[in-house]
Amino acid sequence: MDVIELLRVAWSSIRVHKMRSFLTILGIMIGVACVITMMTVTAGAQHDIDRQMREMGSNLMMVYAGSWRGRGGVRSAAGANAVLTEDDSDAIKREIPEIVAAAPTMRGYAQVVVGNRNWNSSVYGIDEDFLVVRNWGVNEGRLFEPTELSRGSRVALIGTTTATELFGEGQVLGQTIRVQNVQFTVVGLLASKGMAPGSTSFDQDSVVLIPLKTARTRLLGRQGVAGNAVEGIYISVENEDDMLYVEEEIKKLLHARHRIDPEREAFSVNNMSEWIESRLEQQNTFNSLLSVIAAVSLIVGGIGIMNIMLVSVTERTREIGLRMAVGARNTDIMQQFLVEAIALCIAGGILGILLAILVSTGSSYLAGWPIYFQWWVLMMAVVFSGVIGIFFGFYPARSAANKDPIEALRTE
């Protein structure tokens, strides 16, 4: 018997019991919807992370003096006397070929004032590598000239948030801002980066970038530290796979340069893995909940399919007997009921996909989660539904196929 005939028979049987068929596939539908929503939200989060990683800067690492003990952890006192310098930055760049750029940086917060407006902003002292490492550029104006960097000129690049707070919609380039009573000329408006990865409050666009030398001499310099000391070094690694290796190399190099026992861990190298973990953790709670709902729905749904197929087989005992009398073999009967179960499940799967699209789009809208539909997931959902149909349809189909034609024909 060909597939089209099997489908025709299955469809006519499903059509006769529209309501019953719909209720039967509800479980499969909810299960499939849960699985797809889960995959869609997870994929969305992953894509979001990837995007933010790219915007942070490709294969970014940050080197600090002192060791970090996890998020919000305490810097160990052991590293308190180690200080990073521009020389360290140069050495790292020189000695570790896997590194694309190393940017020595100073950082602080300051009140930025224009006329009667003021705004609290991050202030970074940077060199020419910083924007390379952070994969950053200007939307308007220009970057710092080499002479401005070497002389310590009072020029600034400002982020879009800072610009809006200080100038509203007005002209930014060429304006003068005051930072701790030092006047800077704005030469460029930075491209927007949005919130920092894993954060909803740390605005990367609330920023003022000034030459490193200017920062050290006029704003962020501290007494009692070496003249070329920096707070941290931003590093960009050529190849993502080298990240761990480079991290170790940097630690080795710095401990050697400062003649500190590596055991003391006087320096720490930070990459983005921590906030990725925390980010995925939020999703995991959601996912485990959905997994449980999905598993329960699919099992209950499958049992529902089995139950209704058994009812259908019993109801149609005479039909089975008649079909056998006119020449249906066991396998023909088996196929007929299996195809019906599979068709029901696949219909449930397809409705589940539609429900998942509704739910993910809705939750994306309400909870602000990014979503990402993957075609292979949708295809797999359909295939998986069919497998459920085979699994739970097998027993009813076999019981139909094993009926004795004489008994079956005698059934009222």
């Binding site: 018997m1 005479r318 009398a325 006119v326 020449g327 073999r329 034609p405 004489i406 024909l409």
Partner: protein
């Protein structure tokens, strides 16, 4: 003449509780092509078991059975299904048409299991319906047909595979006398054209259409009467 049905020492025993019931007890009979036989007997006499075995729905415990030259008594379930499909046409008392299915699709059902292509199935089902006088009812569902019409659809279904034997189990049992006679006229015509027919009935008027009468009692054939001269 080649026998179309050849039974040799067929026996079938059922166990009902502690009791053994000899549904068929050493039954031997042959029928030639074109025979028209009525099987009669009280209920429990073994006539139904005989019909089921001849119809390849059941197998005998012992004995041999040839249908149209094929030894079927040792066949597997699937092989029997093939024989039923190609050599046997069934007509039941309760018609046994599929509900919510057109007369045409009902008639075409055996061809589906014979692996006939859709186009040919429709053509042959049309021809079979025409043969029983239902040319203008092909699209009707069973609920839209009278009892007599439903039984004619069932006869068309039995004919569509051009079987060697038509087996009818109380074909007029659910019909009034007049309609029953119309159905019997169809059987007479089919036999006239050479089809072998075996029908089970307990009405003499119906049995009188046949050419021979086979009487069953307690699982044995107690007599075979010639009712009229067989068609030449």
């Amino acid at each position: 003449m080649k026998d179309i049905i050849n039974c040799k020492n067929l026996s079938k025993t059922y166990v009902l509780g502690d009791e053994e019931v000899h549904a068929l007890d050493d039954v031997s009979i042959t029928m030639a092509r074109g025979d028209y036989a009525a099987v009669m007997g009280p209920s429990g006499s073994g006539k139904s078991t005989f019909m089921n075995i001849v119809g390849c729905l059941d197998t005998p415990d012992t004995g041999d059975l040839w249908i149209d030259g094929e030894e079927v008594s040792q066949m597997s379930r699937n092989e029997l299904a093939g024989v039923r499909n190609k050599k046997i046409g069934f007509v039941f008392q309760q018609f046994n048409l599929l509900g919510r299915t057109s007369a045409l699709d009902n008639v075409a059902l055996p061809l589906l299991y014979a692996g006939v292509k859709r186009h040919e199935r429709r053509e042959r089902a049309h021809a079979a319906l025409e043969r029983v006088g239902l040319k203008d009812r092909v699209g009707h569902h069973p609920t839209q047909l009278s009892g007599g019409q439903q039984q004619r659809v069932a006869i068309a279904r039995a004919l569509v595979n051009e079987p060697a034997i038509l087996l009818a189990d109380e074909p007029t049992g659910a019909l009034d006398t007049h309609t029953g006679e119309e159905i019997m006229d169809i059987f007479d015509d089919l036999n006239q054209s050479g089809l072998t027919i075996v029908l089970v009935t307990h009405e003499y008027l119906i049995a009188a259409h046949a050419h021979q009468m086979i009487r069953f009692l307690d699982g044995k054939i107690t007599g075979v009467e010639q009712l009229k001269a067989e068609a030449a």
